[in-house]
Amino acid sequence: SSFIRKLRGQAVAQAQASFNGGSGSSKGDSFLVPGATVATLLMLGALHARRMYDDKKVEEERGKGIESEFQPDLKATFLRFLPLRSMSRCWGYLTSVEIPVWLRPYIYRAWARAFHSNLEEAASPLDEYASLRDFFIRTLKEGCRPIDSDPHCLVSPVDGTILRFGELKGPGAMIEQVKGFSYSVSSLLGASSFLPMVAEGQMEEDEEEPEKTSVSKSKKSWWRISLASPKVWDPVLSRPMRGLFYCVIYLKPGDYHRIHSPVDWKILIRRHFSGNLFPVNERATRTIRNLYVENERVVLEGLWQEGFMAIAAVGATNIGSIELVIEPKFRTNLQRKRLAHSEPPEERLYDPEGVGIMLRKGDEVGAFNMG
């Protein structure tokens, strides 16, 4: 209100100056800057309020049992023409600019208030995070995230909101993005994935006629892995007596953005898909087709005590880069060298000795970074 009073005072002074002979042009110029800033702040505030309202509306509908349906719209189509990767990289550059020490707590508190972050969990004092990017990827105080030690459970690898989960049945199994649109698991993880996509009935048939199976894609993939990692390969693990499940977790901007291991497992392969960088918020899932399959993502595949395990970390416009603790030199959100959209993923096999990288439940795997 004091700012508005100041603005009003400036406007009155300008009016008086023009009334007295029009010598107030310099004051008029000085009014433009705060005027534009206020307009920008008001616009951002309005957009944030509208987003909060939309989120609330979706939550209310979900509470009533109404599912949001897939409805492609013009805005989603328009997004395809935007240079989202460049925008993401620019955002990353802006957020990595060092902030004056005195200003840091104010900016980080404002961020925390806007996106509901818990600052008490931050491992370091606020003025020690040199940039918003550093603050965003902050670690937590020891003991803030106790890991469920039950050996018969999987724990969440991230802080976030559960969007979807369920069991995948039969070959070509699909994960529902929203009601009315689904994408295939093999598109998400990659055609060369060693995903055990053989249905139970089909497996029995295959056992009777083993020659036929040798041509199937999934068998080939398993064979490839069995050759590549003989020490960990156990045919019992691939038996379809175990079900195949999935879980989709969305991380809001205020959430802790590091990824941890959900179980004790061995990571055998990393696959990097350099796709688009569409936003992945609630609205985007309802309007952009194949959102998770089109976006840039990193897939880690391996084995745990019950068989197959894969984690796909999907990037977005604002959170464009994915870092891996297990492979520090690995980089994503790089400038595209090729224009072809359907380029194959870049793969790295983590098992020169056939062992892979062993991770314990709760170990840090990677992180999402700004831009």
Binding site: L154, S156, L244, W304, G307, V314
Partner: protein
């Protein structure tokens, strides 16, 4: 950003079997690192 997990877990082999993986979360639930997503009982 989003994380998608795909994994194998035990399913019911017989009617009496308890060793079936079940999710312990609901859609829309907020979850934090280290909290159980689901589990099964040992037979």
């Amino acid at each position: 950003s989003t994380v998608v997990m795909v994994f194998q877990a035990p399913v019911k082999k017989t009617v009496d079997s308890l060793s079936e993986f079940k999710f312990s979360v609901k859609r829309g639930d907020k979850i934090r690192v280290g909290e159980a997503l689901g589990g099964w009982q040992e037979q």
